[in-house]
Amino acid sequence: MSDTTMASPELTTADGVPLKKALVRSEARAKRRAFLLVAPLFLFVLITFVVPIGQMLFQSVYNDSFSATAPALDKWFSEHPQGAPIDESAYAALASDLKTMKENRTQGQAGTRINYDVAGTRSLFTSTARKIDRLEPPWKEAILGVNEGWNDPNLWRAMRSATHPYTIDFYLAALDMTRDKNDNIVGVNPDRAIYGKLFWRTAVLSFIITVLCMILAFPIAHLLASLPLAKSNLLMIFVLLPFWTSLLVRTTSWMVLLQQQGVLNDLLVWLGIVNNDGRLEMMYNKTGTIIAMTHILLPFMVLPLYSVMRTIPPSYVRAARSLGATSWTAFRRIYLPQTLPGIGAGALLVFILSVGYYITPALVGGADGQLISNMIAFHMQKSLNWSLAAALASLLLAGVLILYWLYDRLVGIDNMKLG
């Protein structure tokens, strides 16, 4: 606030050196050594984690594949505001850019970028650029003569917005939104809205998987924590065994078990629980994703729970019992509250892992059990719309961070025990 504090006499060492300075000096060596020890990991994290994530965040708001290849249009758009008539000068700029694109072979790249916003326009760019050398002014008639599609105001609006390399359009797309002809942000046609549904499904499935893991892991962890060490170590191997097996092997073994002609269905038919025509569909849908992922993520719930339960002495429950509590009351009021740090850590871990899970839903999810990460992978590998993939991934990251923040507010991150 105000400068009313009295200047306290500075503490000095016996030699008259200020105490703070002496402290810094005496600890400098130890600090340097500590830093050198950490340096390799620090560099590794920087190169493999911070930089790629920064790159991804940047990609989600930056795409210059059109703005860099169409300088003349960029100039024209900056000189003519939104709503100006698309006249001869605009087509002249387009023709000039198409020529540049043809020389640099970038028409496909530019077309792809516009294609994100207006479907089917990539071929417009490639086909017109192919013929651009033979065209003569006036450019408007000439270009429209090649393809009437250039007359679409949506296309011109898309090109205008694509000349800004920094854009939030990918986030809009990731949130099932778009711009109408007046540049207002509106929701897309409901039957084209897919990402919102996928985010929701991802959250719901992750929640179900987390709850299932919790229910399954709690008794196991309790058993592990209360058995003598030799026996609990043996049992721990069974818990960890899936960890040591390849993810693919585990997932495919679930396929063997769960598919319609699989072991489980055969057994059910043989037992007469279902008849041969009514074989259960437990694979290539949500059920398959839930079963396989619960199994795979179970250890992440067991381990934090176990490490917390191990530290709860049996005397607490005994004390509660001796004080007159039934075993259920003792469990609910004494044991369970003390396992909360483990439950919290395990649930957070499992939820975050399953929100971003890719391989298992891809293999056993079918169309119904796909998660948002499968869509991100699709945009990375198939549609090559990396900016949209980055936007989706960033939203996912933001969701996880919000969850983390909520957890911190509700439970406190200091209370978390990961093992």
């Binding site: 002495p313 005397s315 607490y316 004390a319 509660a320 019992r321 001796s322 004080l323 039934t326 003792a330």
Partner: protein, 367 residues
Amino acid sequence: MNNAADGDGFVVFDRVQKSYDGETLVVKDLNLSIGKGEFLTMLGPSGSGKTTCLMMLAGFEMATNGEILLDGKNINMVPPHKRGIGMVFQNYALFPHMTVGENLAFPLEVRGMGKDERETKIKRALDMVQMGDFINRRPAQLSGGQQQRIALARALVFDPELVLMDEPLGALDKQLREHMQFEIKHLHESLGITVVYVTHDQGEALTMSDRVAVFNDGRIQQLAAPDELYERPQNSFVAQFIGENNKLPGTVETLTGDTCTVRLETGEIIDATAVNIREAGQETLVSIRPERVEFKPEMMPAGAHTIGAEVLEVIYMGDILRTRMRVAGSDEFVMKSRNTLDQVRLKPGERLKIGWHPQDARALDPM
């Protein structure tokens, strides 16, 4: 030697046996009757079966054989929460996620007691241990001694007639421990409750108890009041375990009624009281308390045998002087004398005659 269960005690162990693995008995044939209002301590080294007995009484372990009676009723099959026994645990077992008040309210809540009555009882229990101001603290914010008091208050808040304590003072420092010993003792007296107390600290057992049951090897070795236990141990184990003790091995020379003479390994003959020896000629271990050893001729009882000793070391301990000497071939013979104004200070290397009243030398089994 064991007190046979007479059936009219408040707590009765009747031929109780306990085995965990079906091969060895941790508790072998325990018969014990505890009167109402009594402070009984189970004392013994670790693994002697004392904690197992307490756990069986609390209901956390099942007796493999025999009956445990509480107020005349067999409680073998009664689950712990229906026994109504207060218990103080070794590490207090205060619920860390509850405040002191909530900890104390817990036994009352599970009994379905109303809020007003709860508050009165909690306040009374906290005042009893002088912790009234700490009702809103969490156990982690309390010192060890304070936690101990809260644990005590929690075990007493629902007015149990029987309170079990499992080494409750083990985690406290010496001064606090001694202070708490008196407080527990006073609480016991003022409330008139029955206390069964488990400890391996013989000092604690002697200061607090009405009677002490010394456990070893799954059996009660001796059950007696503290003074009786200290002054008249019934066997070598009890003599060793309670207090400091000099032991001189030898052979019984003559045996007349309660008194005997023992020829030590180096040939000297000493007088002793026969405790659990049967006949002349058998091996024995003579036990003498260090503070009952005398070296001034005028203090010796008439007619007592004396024995030569060589001073090896004098340790100054403030209130007493501890003199280690060589007696009958043993280098570990200790004599304790009070550090009075006129006390003679012996020097290492000095040779002298020492002796004791024959009643203080007890010829016991050779272990």
